[in-house]
Structure formats: C-alpha cells, structure tokens
C-alpha cells in the first residue's frame, strides 16, 4: 500500500488548517445547555488533544479543540470539528461509531463519504495498526465531552 493512500491530500490539508483549533470561540456557559471537556493523551507518542463540546437546542453548537501531535491526529481533530458541529448528540454518536468501525477494520471496511464526509479519507489509516490511536484520539475526547454535555 502506498504512502499516499495513508496521507491523502485532504488529510494533509486538514493537518495544516486545523479547523476548530483554539478555545477562543467556545460557546459560553450562559448560552449552552450542556458543556463538556475531555483531555486525551497517547503515552506512546506524547500526542494530546483536549476537546470542548457545547450543546444547546438539541445540537452540538460548538466543538473546539487544542492539541499537538502528528498529522493524522491533528487532521482527524479538524475533520471532527467540521462534522460534529450542528449534529445532534445522537447523530454524532452514530458518526463516531461508524468512524471507529472503519478505523479499526484493518482495511476491511472502506470509508463511505456519504456517511463520513471528509473522515472517509482516513480509511488508509486502518491498515496501519500503529496509527489507529492517532486517528481516534480526538474522537475519543469528543465522545467523552459530548457525554458530559448531555449527561
């Protein structure tokens, strides 16, 4: 498998642009019905991501993050931001499950752009067992933060 299948152009672009990075624009406590924050660390490589989720009117109004790590983990957080904002907590839960299923499939489950949007570009990661955690770290943080925000 070629390296380009892992590092698809959309991943390299997200890794640079980092959509949703920084907490400056986070929805305040006053405006949100529920807030959640989760910090996740990968002790193997030192990658870390903190995700803040604000829920109001039955939808994730804002998902912002801060972190440092490899291009896969940073791009994944950027895509996560784009996909999660505006989704209902239940839609987000299903999305995260579909993403996890693809990432952990060792190349068996192709990414479906209809379901996963830009996140489908991470299908190549599933063939690299050592990089699965990189792709998942922001999503694990987001799931935890969303649970807090809706709990």
């Amino acid at each position: 498998m070629s390296l380009d299948a892992l590092y698809q152009q959309v991943i390299l672009e997200h890794a640079k642009e980092r959509h949703g990075s920084g907490f400056a624009d986070t929805l305040g406590e006053a405006q949100a019905a529920g807030l959640g924050e989760s910090h996740q660390l990968n002790p193997v490589c030192g990658d870390e991501v903190t995700v803040r989720v604000a829920v109001a009117d039955g939808a994730i109004q804002s998902l912002r993050w801060e972190g440092q790590g490899c291009s896969i983990s940073m791009a994944s957080a950027s895509v996560l931001h784009d996909l999660a904002e505006g989704a209902s907590p239940e839609e987000f839960r299903r999305l995260a499950e579909a993403f996890r299923e693809m990432i952990r499939s060792r190349g068996q489950i192709p990414g479906d752009p209809e379901v996963l949007g830009d996140a489908a570009a991470f299908e190549g990661v599933s063939r690299y067992a050592a990089r699965v955690k990189c792709a998942m770290i922001a999503w694990v943080a987001a799931e935890d933060a969303a649970r807090q925000a809706t709990g």
């Binding site: 390296l3 892992l6 590092y7 390299l12 490589c45 030192g46 990658d47 790590g69 490899c70 990089r131």
Partner: protein, 458 residues
Amino acid sequence: MALVSIPAPLRPDSADPAHPSDLDDSEVERIRHDFPALGQELGGRPLVYLDSGATSQKPRSVLEAEQDFYETRNAAVHRGAHELAVRATDAYEEARAAVAGFVGADPAELVWTSNATEALNLVAYAFSNATLWAERGRGGSELRRFALGPGDEIVVTELEHHANLIPWQELAFRTGAALRYIPIDDDGRLDLAEASRIIGPNTRLVAFSHASNVLGTVSPVEELVGLARRAGAFTVLDACQSVPHQPVDFKQLDVDFAAFSGHKMLAPTGIGALYGRRELLDALPPFLVGGSMITTVTMERADYLPAPQRFEAGTQRISQAVAFAAAVDYLRETGMQRIAAREARLGERLAEGIAALDGVRLLGPAPGEDWYGHPRFGIAAFDVAGVHAHDVGQFLDSRGIAVRVGHHCAQPLHRRLGLTASTRASAYLYTTEAEVDSFLASLAEVRGYFGLTSKAGS
C-alpha cells in the same frame, strides 16, 4: 566446555590485536550474512535497520546457542544432581563468567536480571530494603551505609532514560530522601559546574547514564564518579548504550553498580545484567525472594546466599544467558575497539548529513563536536520542523527504513529541548555507509512530501 562448536563470526585473517584494522564496509558485508533478519525485504525494498539503539538484530551463532542449549543441556540450574542439570549449571555459570569478563567484572559480581530496568530496580529496592531492615534492627551494622532517610539526597541527571529515573523517584518516596538532578543546557550538555554544587555531603547515591540514548554522547564518567567519591556517595551507571558499542571496564570506571541489557548487544530479549562491587552485593538485602537464593528456611525466616545467587530467585533465564555469552563472543571476536571506531564514523556521517538539511534540527553535539572529550557514537536524533516524528517515521518506513520515533523513554530531556518527540537513527556493527546515505536521501524528501518547502523555517 561446550558440547558442540558454535560457529565463530567471520574475521580478517590478519587481525593484529595491537593494531586492529578498520572495520570496513567489505567486512561489514560479511558480518551481515551472519544476521538473517538483515537480509529481508519489506514491501519490496531492502530493510534498512537503523533502530539498533532500541534493540539489535541477532547473529546466527546466538540463535544457535540458544537452540543448542535446549537440544543438549536443558535442565534447571543449581538444583538436581543428574547429568543434564550439571551440564545446564555449567553452561549457565560459564555464560556468567563470559559476560562478566566482557565488562571487566568477576563472575560473582554479575547478577542476571530480566533486563536493565529490572537491574536498576533491583538496586533501588535493595537500598529501600536495607533502609527497612536497619529501621527494624535486622542485619548487621554494614547495612546502615545503604539506609536512606529525610535529609539524604539521590542525584540523577536531566537526560536519563525513564528506567534510570523512575526507580530513584520511587526510592526517594519510599525512604523520605530527596531526589535532585544535574541540569542540562539548551543543547543537552550536562552542567558540570552545577553538578559539583549539587553533589555534596548529603548525597548518598548518584545514578547516571554512560551514553545517552538520545544525544549520542558519552558522559563524563570520571568527573561524576570523582564528585560522588569525594561526597562518599554510591554510583550507579546505566550502561545500556555503552556496553554494546564500546569497550567498557566497570572496575576501571570505578562505579559501584552498573546495568546493561542483552537484547541491545546481539543477545535475546529477556535477559540483562547488574554489575555490583562484590562487598556491596554481598551486604545488600535481596530484592526478589524465593527458591534458589537461600541457605536455611524455617517457617519463620530465611537466610540468604551470597551474591550473585542472593539476587536470582526462582528458575532463571538459562538459555538466554547461554545465548548472551555467544553474543559477547561475537562482539569480542569482532573487536569492541573496532566497533566503537566504526560507529563513531557512522555517527559523524549521520550527524553531518542530518545537520546539512534545511529545517532539520540535530539533537546533541554538532558535527565534528566532541562533548566531554568523546566523539558521538552511532546515534543521531533530530526534529523535522513542521513534521511530527511519527509522520517522519512513517515516511521512512515506506522506504523500508526502520527508525525510532517518540520520546525514546526520555520525556524530561525532550521537554528541556522544547520537544515532545524526535526521530532517531541508530547504527551498529552491521550498519553500512550506504544505509546511512539511503536514510539521509529519504530524510531530505520528508518536508517536501508534507507540503513544506525545504526553505521554510517551520
């Protein structure tokens, strides 16, 4: 005496011990034929293995020594009177003598452990057991010199591998002693002026690495041991990155304890060794207790054998010890001085090539720089501006090049250098100049691949 002959490594016929010839590429090509793993292709590309700092590949003679042990001499050692048990015990103790001799130690001064981490923990736990024994009035007055408490200080350095840091953090916690460290400067150089202020009358133990697994430097052992001696402190040397790569004599270095692992020096995983001055090992309380390390046992208490058996409870790593001896035979026959000289050349080639690349920061000494009077050995770690170490490693892996990425079990060192991770290339006796050059050529492409021009700062 061995029951079968183990093939010796190839070596030049004209070897003159007084004037050893260079270990050149043609001899290295012959050496490589002894290492089955090195001949592999990965994804259609020949493997370029530059991760020997993490673990070395193994020559056939080591693999065969382990297999031969199981086929001809397998039995438990130091128990049982049957013929196989005698053969196994002989093989086990001959292996100890061989590995001890390799580092200038007497056989009774070398304790087998699972790895270097266990060896360092063994010293730390023996010291805290001594503290406990002394508090409870057990053992003689000779134990008091190991006992630690509030007001005592343990000193390490800021560049330690976690294996030579955390055992001392925990020993300090258990005993109430304070842990202090010798700082490094922005480049990673030990502050020796600060060391002479930190190591003083309260210092009881100084633990430091002989060679840095990140910076590629050899530490100023003489200065640090001198400071510790004047303070009356014990010394513990982490020799994991020195014993595999250069001639080492622990007695000459005048350290009290030293740890190294087999798997980094051609031996199997699962075995390491602790060196300790004999009178210290015999006086320290045991760490792990159980079978094979006792004299008399009653339902209430036990008396313990002298070292090294005192520290080898339970069934031991026998085949690994035998294979470890085959590994040091291989290294000895190749010549440690020649290996060190070759690795210094490869280290310099790596350093020069890495430092010449735009947007790549070499860690440790600049090319041509000697720190503490020693050249860089065959390790070079670096940071590629704008590209995470894991992405660098992934790119190199796609070319069949195996390097280490991450913090290399040295988080505080990386933090001090302003990094969370780095990429590391490490060489050994089987590494060719062509491999180093192929790695450098691929490294030169990394920033371009990730969309960073070679001229951009970060």
